[in-house]
């Protein structure tokens, strides 16, 4: 089992910490994890992305080049990384900011209006965790419960009052994924991902 998740969006959308949340949740499930940010002198104010690798075996390279799942928080991220997704992979995209569907025919796609949902929860900052909720529901890489528990590790103490909002974000995302009814097909797809992938360094934007 090898999941290579690429989370991408604008700086400030909470990409890095959502990736970390995923890593912590998977760690709590007893899996091997690796998290790596894109870094660059221009990262600030521009795009941000991070890769999370989850595996039941030791991880060779933590770089996510051909993601099994792409979580795209904005248009440029979808444009840039859609071609890299592994055939048979998954794309979860933020339909609040992206007004096109992925064009790849060989991947599964789920649209999540993450910004609206997050605003509904009362905090647009939790949008990325809505996406994570959907991802966890579809892939079962970790349980929502473990992700919820991990929030305390990822959020600095002065942000712990936001834990309830983040929990709701995870749940809302999961609900949407369930409703999208893709779950069963996704589970089937997981089988083809169980191979090693190619590694290429992530270009800093």
């Amino acid at each position: 089992m090898l999941e290579e998740v690429l989370l991408a969006g604008f700086g400030g959308q909470g990409i890095l910490s959502t990736g970390m949340l995923l890593a912590y949740a998977a760690l709590a499930e007893g899996l091997h994890v690796a998290w790596i940010p894109s870094y660059g002198p221009e990262m600030r104010g521009g795009t941000a992305n991070c890769g999370v690798t989850v595996s039941d075996a030791p991880i060779s390279s933590p770089l996510v080049v051909e993601p099994t799942t792409l979580i795209a928080m904005n248009g440029p991220s979808l444009d840039r990384f859609e071609p890299a997704v592994k055939p048979g992979g998954l794309i979860i995209y933020n339909a609040s900011l992206i007004n096109r569907r992925p064009v790849r025919a060989d991947v599964r796609a789920l649209a999540v209006r993450a910004n609206e949902i997050a605003e509904g929860i009362g905090n647009v900052q939790v949008a990325a965790n809505v996406m994570l909720g959907a991802f966890l529901e579809l892939t079962r890489v970790a349980s929502l419960g473990k992700a919820g528990e991990a929030l305390a590790k990822v959020l600095p103490p002065r942000r712990h009052h936001l834990i309830p909002a983040n929990l709701r974000a995870l749940e809302e995302g999961a609900r949407i994924a369930r409703e999208a009814g893709t779950k069963e097909r996704m589970k089937a797809m997981n089988k083809v991902w169980g191979q090693n992938s190619e590694f290429r360094i992530q270009k800093p934007e």
Binding site: P41, E42, R44, G45, G46
Partner: protein, 257 residues
């Protein structure tokens, strides 16, 4: 919005200078580097020296300045721009040479190079961007970081007992006989921006007149690493930085004053 000769038609307009290329800046929203770039580029254009100018970029957020200034450019090693500029200017004394340097670049690793370029009275112009922080590498303390200021390497705020006192570059440079023009300006308001431009122009005039080394210290906002919204960052310049780094001309040669 390109210029292309339009300037004559509408001399009073405000528009992008020929001194800049078309490449958009990579700086963060509200970063003052952009304003300072524009001022330097405008002055070079207005003095008519773009074609004979060689600029030296620092290592710092302005590391890509070679993409922006519309003249020949050299990317120098961290802190060494004054030495590189010395090499260029000694070979090409009739060209206009400037360095553009941050406070990590000039006031930390490059201290010896700037002090000695000034002591030798090298005939180039230095634009010194003081944003009280290492911008590019993620907001570490700079020599110019204010006491109490929180940075990634002074998480509890800069303490005198550990990290000493902020370095006042303009004051220090002004003690050197070879530094003939030394000013400190700010770009936190339109009025100050216009003053800053005048100082930058004077600093280049000093060079064109062969009078010696000229340096303009520009107080600059780094909203990202200060953790402030851009308007708040400009206010921080005014309220926190200027009291420590007073604006003014510390040295002006008689010839141009």
């Amino acid at each position: 919005m390109k210029d292309e000769g339009g300037r004559r038609k509408a001399a009073v307009s405000w528009r992008r200078t020929r001194g800049l290329t078309d490449t958009p800046f990579h700086y963060c929203p509200g970063c003052s580097h952009g304003v300072i770039h524009r001022l330097v580029a405008e002055v070079l254009d207005e003095l008519g020296v773009l074609e004979k100018t060689v600029g030296i970029c620092p290592v710092g957020c302005a590391v890509f300045a070679y993409n922006y200034f519309n003249c020949d450019m050299i990317e120098a090693a961290h802190g060494r721009a004054p030495a590189v500029a010395t090499g260029v200017k000694r070979v090409l004394p009739d060209r206009v040479v400037f360095t553009y340097q941050g406070d990590g670049d000039l006031a930390a690793i490059g201290t010896a190079e700037i002090v000695h370029a000034a002591a030798r009275s090298e005939r180039f112009t230095t634009i010194f961007v003081n944003n009280a922080v290492y911008g590019m590498t993620g907001g570490q303390m700079a020599p110019t970081t204010l006491l109490g200021q929180k940075t990634t390497t002074t998480p509890a705020g800069r303490e005198v007992s550990v990290a000493g006192f902020p370095l006042k570059v303009a004051e220090l440079m002004a003690t050197l006989d070879g530094a003939v023009y030394v000013a400190r300006v700010s770009v936190h308001s339109p009025k100050h921006i216009l003053q800053a431009k005048r100082a930058i122009r004077e600093a280049f005039k000093v060079q064109l007149d062969g009078l010696g080394f000229a340096l303009v210290e520009v107080l600059s906002a780094c909203p990202t690493n200060w953790g402030l919204a851009p308007p708040d960052a400009l206010r921080w310049v005014e309220e926190k930085m200027i009291p420590v780094y007073p604006l003014g001309k510390f040295k002006v040669p008689e010839e141009i004053s």
